[in-house]
């Protein structure tokens, strides 16, 4: 039965033909994968999209207690000039009460490691499903923790933009930013 040279399907040793079948199949598979990759990668962000410039914002006109929204990479960025009460409230929260524990200090440090507790700068996009939370404009619902409140699915953030209640898994994201002077901040 198992004479060498018998086609595959018997119980004999792998033949030269078996080897060629497997090798051809494997090479074909690699070829298909390599050809598929450009089609898949083609949908990733293009160079001009990636090159979106950073924005520089003059924060001097923002009064204590005020907040502004600027657009960066197609997304809103919240810049809030926090009141001492806001800061105290944010700093006094025990870590055990936070679903995504992070100190307030860590959230107000720029990329030069300088801490400015009065300036909270974060991407104004709910970490649940991407809505823009309310609370950055006067008169808007700030939610039960006096920070921001997402009307889409009910996530509530505190005065440090940390998630406190609702379906969002993480705190509002802090973008990379650098204070070029006390009044000028560069985001991105």
């Amino acid at each position: 039965m198992a004479t060498s040279g018998n086609p595959a399907g018997g119980h004999g040793d792998p033949t030269r033909r078996d080897f060629l079948m497997v090798a051809t199949g494997a090479l074909g598979g690699v070829g298909i994968a390599a050809t598929a990759w450009p089609f898949i990668n083609n949908l990733n962000p293009a160079a001009d999209t990636l090159a979106l410039a950073s924005v520089e914002v003059n924060v001097a006109p923002i009064q204590v207690g005020q907040a502004i929204t600027v657009k960066w990479r197609g997304k809103p960025v919240f810049i809030r000039h926090r009141t001492p009460e806001d800061i105290k409230a944010a700093e006094s929260v025990p870590m055990s009460q936070l679903p995504d524990p992070q100190t307030d200090n860590a959230r107000v440090t720029d990329s030069a490691k300088k801490v400015r507790p009065q300036w909270l700068i974060m991407i104004g996009v709910c970490t649940h499903l991407g809505c823009v939370p309310l609370g950055n404009r006067p008169g808007q619902d700030k939610g039960p923790f006096d920070g921001w409140y997402c009307p889409c699915h009910g996530s509530a953030y505190d005065t440090s933009g940390r998630i406190r209640q609702g379906p969002a898994p993480t705190n509002l994201v802090i973008p990379e930013y650098l204070f070029l002077s006390d009044a000028l901040v560069r985001i991105g």
Binding site: P45, T49, T69, H128, G130, C131, P167
Partner: protein, 411 residues
Amino acid sequence: MASSHGTPPVFNNKVISWIDHRLPIFSYIEKEYHTFPTPRNFNYFWNFGAIATVMLVLMIATGVVLATNYTPHVLMAFDSVERIDRDVPQGWLMRDLHMNGASFFFIAVYIHIFRGMYYGSYKAPRELLWILGVVIFLLMMATAFMGYVLPWGQMSFWGATVITNLFSAIPVVGDSIVTWLWGGFSVDNPTLNRFFALHYLLPFVIVAVVALHVVALHVHGSNNPLGIDPKGPQDTVPFHPYYTMKDGFGVVVFLIVFAGFAFFAPDYMGHPDNYVPANPLVTPEHIVPEWYFLPYYAILRAVPDKLGGVIAMFGAIAVLFVLPWLDTSRVRSASFRPIYKWFMLVLVVDVIVLGFCGANPPAGFWIPLSQVATLYYFFHFLVLLPILGKIERPLPLPPSIADAVLKNKAG
């Protein structure tokens, strides 16, 4: 015997005969749509497959025409849709038919799915037929979602943002997948452009899967309200003229209601916020999807955890794929299942309740209500159906379709 079925037809017309000898399309039509033996006892629920097909054709026809005037660019999309409404000859008609057509396509398909569930059409040997149907349903949802983004209004933009963000719940690779879907860092021009391309493509994929659905249907033929197989020619009638007429009648009635909405209340099922151009910096106070997605949206929100909500929402559809194996009862039609019959109606109420939950803000009693309704939805499929098939005592099945029909006539 079924002499009309099985023997190749003879065509008197020489041209038809010549073509058919080389490409047997006329034989095919003759066999599958004329003499095709069909159970004689269909009720009007059996219209909805034909109705859904008509809606699909209507959506493609209006969609192709609309595409000739639409511009998939964030700066021009909204205005190009307004131009279609106001300036393009009959553009308003094409758009209203397309917008309302989506809703009525889903109405037809939801009734079609209910029919399949109530009369057990998914049971052996029609499991693949059912699964192909669920694939069509998924493709429809993807197509409808991407179509809703195209007018680039506030609901378009924020609907797209919320739904694409669902994928960010996937651990590790989620964010990369979302960036890949967007082609950028937010829903923006690359997103709109690709959604338009895919919205144009997917309906033709649906046509292909519908063709497979019909091929699978014609292997064992249609189920029927009694859920028993035809046992001979006395149980069937030829598809034409009996069901071409009955389907035609149902299609016309359905189209009358559809036309009523398209002409007299074209925005009734839409959302006024979508007539506000998209603004990436302001989320509308209350985001809702189109009505046909509301039950799934309610399930998404019922779970107080991002990944959990996403899994529950996709699970609600995934469970349909395995329905033929979850239902352990061998009796197809609910007419002979005294307990299942009522639970099937409870499921319909449950899905409607979920729809209302999805339409209302996630606050107050809507939260616990949507949680209870979500639990019941999964309870029905995962617990009730497997157990019910074992403990329920079905009513005696009639000996044949003809027997049951004629007895009904007499009595």
